[in-house]
């Protein structure tokens, strides 16, 4: 529920902002900002004005522009626009005066309050910033009001602020800019008042994205666009199997290519450093490397599935155990049993990963779309042999991530730093991956197999559910390994072990497979497969009980479950089921948000084809309904892409997909019409970046079952 604090004491406020009682930082920027630091706004940039920092998150220029410091990554989720709106709301600013810029890496000021380190993930950008940014906006407003009161010699209580104008009934009025310097010298009052949500004028509005202009005119800056004088380009040759080591290298032909400066061997492979990308790529193809495969993972997908299925037959660590699932199933008249298979998936963000490294004088500047700033800072420092304070991260837009940029070992950042360290000539070096590097680079959504058994009693209610899975844990052997408890990695079983379906005998077991293929969180993590298992299996139980799948679910959900509201809304909005085709539903909770989806299929030339997707979401208080819709559309298409086409497969330990011809992703003609509806709520805001993903594939599979009687248990699958 919403922890709404109408009043916050100054001490709490300072704690939230990480400020000492000494007060506020006043600073100014002398020189015009360079490319990564250019504030992003919908308006044309004005010349750099003197900026007053009213707190860590709010800077006000003499030209009235308010710049919000965004501590989160922006790789599409739109959180930069949402976070800016939260500040603008409490500040009573006019939307047209708002801009934002990326925060530097600074864990003391800019930690994710839900993670304890600076980083973006778990759809938490809005959720963890909500209180912090409301306080920042309200605090900055209080300072401006105090400054106006002092200058006009009137009581604070008589000052009003609206749409960027501070005024008094005497007729005196001012913009923010003219009072910013004086405000920065004011002391915060004992109490800072937060707005009553019923008075919100910006929060809840479908404001267009602030980065809409720069992302349509070619000006948006990504890692791959970064440039410094004297910069060189690096590309990497990595072993063809994970875990292999370089045995012998003949780089004579590559070195002879004109424009190649250096070829260096680093922990992760061999790097070519050249004057430009094309030259580097040409030289890379001429490298003759021999690899030592002794410690490499040599199994292919077929062998891995075989080994997983063997393990699936044995009992594993227990993630949840209510009642007596096994005994109940043993005595059940008609138990239902299904086995599932999920492949490895690549994130394949549109921008191939890369990072510009400027390492000199024992200090380094990194330019890239950072996602786990604190982790990357530590990894870069360790790689370069310098202290963490000497690592500056200059964040730029990320061309997609879906989890890929948040690597516990900072893989590509470490790779770039190790090249910069190994290079004899200390110039700025930009590492650029190509699509093959991306698809062969590991860090996949882990493959998994599942065996699920369940039963329905004579009264039509489910009596038992027993879910056992085999899946790799990417937290194992990572700095986050302490999150694994009693052999159970909670991210592996999320969406199943924590389900709120009321089934008296409920058991979940998980085997952590040991495989030499690096894996990682992939947009919605464990929910990607567990929602599919749960929601198709529940559908199968409803079918076995000869019940309507929606009513069957509602009967299993507790009265207060927020899944009920989204399921009912989605079904209501979907209207009549299609004639002759099939309808499927799924409802799932992830990252504190609740999403239901209804998929309708029609028969076209004897084949099922997608008619539409209807989606309902409950994510608490909505900052920007248009961005909520946009994230649902995005999640649906991302999930549809995976369900119908994506799989990373291995042969003898080598990835078989090298580009988008073999790694098949969704394209525009196959994208269905999507309708999104939002459940009104006054609960604290939760995320939307991931929760749109989990329900789509099971709803689609359930629709296919309704249309054809075919139960899908292996991904990816086809409609026809």
């Amino acid at each position: 529920m919403l922890k709404f604090l109408p009043q916050t004491s100054r001490r709490d406020f300072l704690k939230v902002l990480g400020l000492g009682a000494a007060g506020l930082v006043v600073g100014c920027t002398g020189s015009p900002p360079a490319s990564p630091g250019t504030p992003v706004s919908s308006a044309t940039p004005s010349p750099a004005a003197q900026l007053e920092e009213l707190n860590h998150f709010v800077k006000i220029g003499a030209d009235d522009r308010v710049t919000v410091v965004v501590k989160h990554s922006e790789f599409g989720q739109g959180s930069s626009t949402g976070l800016t709106a939260i500040v603008a709301e409490e500040l009573d600013a006019d939307w047209s005066q708002m801009a934002w810029e990326f925060a530097p890496a600074d864990n003391k000021k800019y930690a994710n309050t839900l993670m304890g380190i600076q980083g973006t993930g778990g759809s938490s950008a809005i959720a963890n910033s909500w209180q912090e940014l409301r306080l920042s906006g309200a605090g900055a407003r209080a300072l401006l009001v105090a400054a106006a009161a002092a200058e006009w010699k009137v009581p604070v209580s008589e000052i009003e602020v609206s749409k960027g104008t501070i005024s008094h009934k005497s007729g005196k009025s001012s913009g923010f800019g003219a009072l910013a310097a004086a405000a920065a010298r004011q002391k915060l009052p004992e109490k800072v008042l937060l707005k009553d949500p019923s008075k919100f004028t910006l929060i809840g509005q479908p404001l267009p994205r602030l980065d809409g202009a720069v992302k349509t005119n070619g000006q948006a800056q990504f890692a791959i666009d970064q440039s410094l004088p004297g910069m060189r380009i690096a590309v990497m040759l990595r072993p063809p199997k994970f875990g292999a080591k370089l045995k012998k290298l003949d780089d004579a032909a590559a070195k002879a290519v004109s424009g190649v400066f250096e070829i260096v061997t680093v922990a992760r492979g061999v790097a070519v450093i050249a004057k430009d990308f094309w030259t580097a790529q040409k030289a890379k193809r001429l490298l003759q490397a021999e690899w030592d495969f002794t410690k490499a993972e040599k199994r292919g997908s077929a062998e891995l599935f075989r080994d997983y299925k063997k393990q699936l037959k044995t009992p594993g660590p227990v993630a949840r155990n209510d009642g007596k699932a096994e005994a109940t199933l043993a005595g059940a008249a008609h138990p239902v049993e299904l086995e599932y298979e999920f492949p490895y998936l690549a994130h394949a963000p549109m921008e191939p990963l890369g990072c510009l490294v400027d390492f000199k004088n024992g200090e380094v500047d990194l330019y890239y779309g950072a996602q786990l700033q604190t982790v990357d800072q530590a990894s870069a420092a360790a790689t370069l042999g310098i202290s963490q304070e000497k690592v500056r991260i200059n964040s730029v837009f990320g061309g997609g991530s879906f989890g890929r940029r948040a690597t516990p070992d900072s893989d590509y950042v470490v790779e770039a730093c190790s090249i910069a360290k190994a290079a004899k000539e200390k110039t700025p070096i930009k590492l650029i991956w190509d699509r093959t590097d991306d698809l062969h680079g590991g860090r996949y959504r882990p493959m998994s197999v599942h065996r699920v058994r369940g039963a329905v009693g004579a009264d039509g209610k489910p009596t038992a559910f027993f879910h056992r899975m085999v899946v790799q844990s990417f937290l194992a052997d990572s700095p986050f390994a302490m999150m694994i408890k009693d052999g159970v990695d909670a991210t592996s079983v999320e969406g199943s072990a924590n389900s709120d379906y009321q089934i008296p005998n409920f058991r979940v077991e998980v085997h952590m497979a040991r495989v030499g293929i690096p894996t990682l969180w992939w947009r919605s993590v464990g929910h990607t497969y567990n929602a599919f298992v749960m929601e198709t299996f529940v559908d199968a139980l409803a079918h076995a009980a000869r019940q309507d799948p929606v009513k069957f679910r509602l009967a299993m959900l507790p009265k207060r479950s927020r899944r009920r509201g989204v399921l009912e809304l989605a079904v209501e909005k979907a209207g009549k089921p299609p004639q002759g085709g099939g309808r499927g539903v799924a409802v799932h909770e992830s990252f504190g948000s609740f999403v239901a989806q209804v998929v309708d299929l029609e028969m076209k030339g004897g084949k099922p084809s997608l008619l539409k997707v209807v989606c309902a979401v409950d994510c608490g208080i909505v900052i920007n309904p248009d961005q909520v819709k946009s994230q649902m559309e995005s999640g649906i298409n991302y999930a549809l892409s995976a369900a119908l086409g994506e799989a990373i497969t291995l042969k003898d330990g080598e990835v078989e997909q090298s580009n988008f011809d073999a790694y098949k992703v969704l394209r525009l003609p196959a994208a269905p019409p999507i309708e999104v509806f939002i459940v009104e709520s006054n609960a604290a805001p939760t995320g939307t970046g991931e929760p749109g993903v989990p329900p789509l594939a099971p709803a689609l599979a359930n629709a296919l079952f309704a249309a054809t009687g075919k139960r899908i248990t292996r991904l990816p699958f086809t409609l026809g």
Binding site: V214, T216, G218, F277, M350, S630, N637, S641, V665, L668
Partner: protein, 152 residues
């Protein structure tokens, strides 16, 4: 290495490059026009789409030596101040998410509208199927093309 003169966004520009260097990398690295993006290098994703003599082409697969004097237009030169009806519709409908694919999407859509001012859904499918958006902004791309078509 040879010398080439290329007309980009109405300006003749000179470059010394390997004959097989793709136009994409000449634009990005030699001319600093980084709005055109690299996504696959193999004509599979559309991120590098520019106009060559008015046609949408994948600049990652056009060697600089194959231009034959044909003029090139990139996202930076599509319209003054980024005010092409498509660019306006794109920003108004908040089409971009990460934004990385969008230069290519807009260039493909602009080539379509130049030939077919009022495209049907089927014509949009045809023209846009070579452009991948991993963020799944497809419904809004379709809507923005219709919107721009209505206003142009």
């Amino acid at each position: 290495m040879s010398k080439f003169t290329i007309t980009v966004n109405g300006q003749p520009r000179e470059v010394e490059a390997d004959d097989d260097k793709p136009l994409l990398w000449v634009l990005r690295e030699d001319f600093g026009l980084t709005g055109t993006k690299f996504g696959c290098g193999a004509s599979l994703c559309g991120a590098c789409t520019v106009h060559l003599d008015g046609q949408a082409v994948r600049s990652c697969s056009v060697p600089v030596s194959a231009l034959n004097g044909k003029p090139v237009v990139t996202i930076e030169g599509l319209a003054q101040d980024g005010q092409h009806p498509l660019q306006k519709a794109w920003a108004e409908l908040s089409v971009p998410q990460c934004g990385y694919c969008q230069s290519g999407q807009i260039m493909s859509a602009a080539a379509l509208l130049a030939k077919t001012p009022q495209p049907s859904d089927e014509q949009i499918n045809q023209a846009m199927s070579g452009n991948i958006c991993r963020c799944g902004s497809y419904p809004r791309i379709r809507a923005a093309i219709h919107k721009a078509a209505g206003s142009s």
